[in-house]
């Protein structure tokens, strides 16, 4: 079963807000000068911000904010966020891989930006809705 796709817009302002909330002030997430100096195409989103947006999709699919029992991802490609009002978009989809008898649902999750996968091996286990 495929779950309905969810799209998240990501702007520079979102990265600044996430930096403050998470305490991750690495300048690759807010300074083009620094990001390009270390060989990136420009400012990129925190991997953990992408992972957090994907977690929103997962908890919304689960229908409960406390349903996630296991959640892991591999970061494969940076999400470049241009310095304009639109920023970029991350699209999240998932398929149900397994529903266990003890009430767990395992999801295989896909997250893309501009048509390219930004995560691999993204998996979540959630408590099946009652």
């Amino acid at each position: 079963m495929e779950l309905p796709a969810k799209t998240f817009q990501v702007t520079r302002a979102d990265l600044v807000r996430y930096a403050g909330a998470s305490g991750d002030f690495n300048p690759i997430h807010w300074s083009d000068r620094f990001a390009t100096k270390v060989g990136l195409p420009g400012v990129i989103a925190h991997g953990m911000f992408t992972m957090a947006l994907v977690s929103r999709a997962i908890t919304e699919w689960a229908g409960a904010p406390d349903a996630v029992v296991d959640y892991g991802v591999r970061f494969t490609r940076p999400v470049v966020v241009p310095d304009d009002d639109q920023g970029t978009e991350i699209e999240v989809t998932a398929v149900v891989r397994e529903v266990t008898e003890d009430g767990l649902t395992r999801l295989d999750v896909t997250a893309t930006c501009l048509g390219e996968k930004v995560l691999s091996q993204a998996r979540a286990t959630i408590r099946t809705a009652r």
Binding site: F8, D14, R17, Y18, G20, A21, S22, G23, D24, V38, G47, M48, F49, M51, A52, L53, S55, R56, I58, T59, A64, P65, D66, V68, V69, D70, Y71, G72, V73, R74, F75, Q121
Partner: protein
């Protein structure tokens, strides 16, 4: 970048307790656009059986950051932080983090490898309450990029 494989199995002393505040959970939830009332309203969280507002799934990184620093900044390990990129991240929850938790982190280096000139470092951080109740186990793999 070559990392010393003898660090596998090394454990680090527990970090100072982190006091999880209600406003910090609200701030984090707002920053990721998580609007579920259980992240913001104690009454909504209590209706789900939690003592106070519930943190979103990736909130534990806020708590484990000090523990990660302990390892990445261990001079004996010698990680060049300017060359670090995040490889993998995983959380296995016993229960969600909630406001009022006082959490300590105990970290272990699970794996150290060098491949294709890059170093790979996998750490496991067990997050528990000061009373010893396990809350979440957090795995993080970082890649230390080799010199081009």
């Amino acid at each position: 970048m070559s990392l010393d494989p003898s660090f596998v199995g090394r454990t680090y002393p527990p970090t100072a307790p982190y006091q999880v505040g209600r406003e910090k959970i609200r701030e984090f939830a707002t920053a990721i656009g998580a609007t579920d009332p259980a992240h913001h309203d104690p009454a909504a969280a209590r209706a789900l059986g939690h003592p106070d507002v519930v943190a979103p799934p990736t909130f534990p990184v806020v708590v484990t950051m000090a523990a990660s620093r302990q390892i990445v900044e261990d001079p004996a390990l010698g990680v060049d932080y300017s060359r670090v990129v995040h490889g993998d991240q995983r959380f296995a929850y016993t229960r969600p983090v909630v406001a009022g938790d006082e959490l300590v982190c105990a970290s272990t280096i699970e794996d150290v490898t060098t491949r294709g000139g890059h170093g790979f470092l996998t750490t496991r951080t067990d997050v528990s309450t000061v009373a010893g109740e396990p809350v979440v186990a957090v795995w993080s793999k970082i890649v230390v990029r080799g010199e081009a």
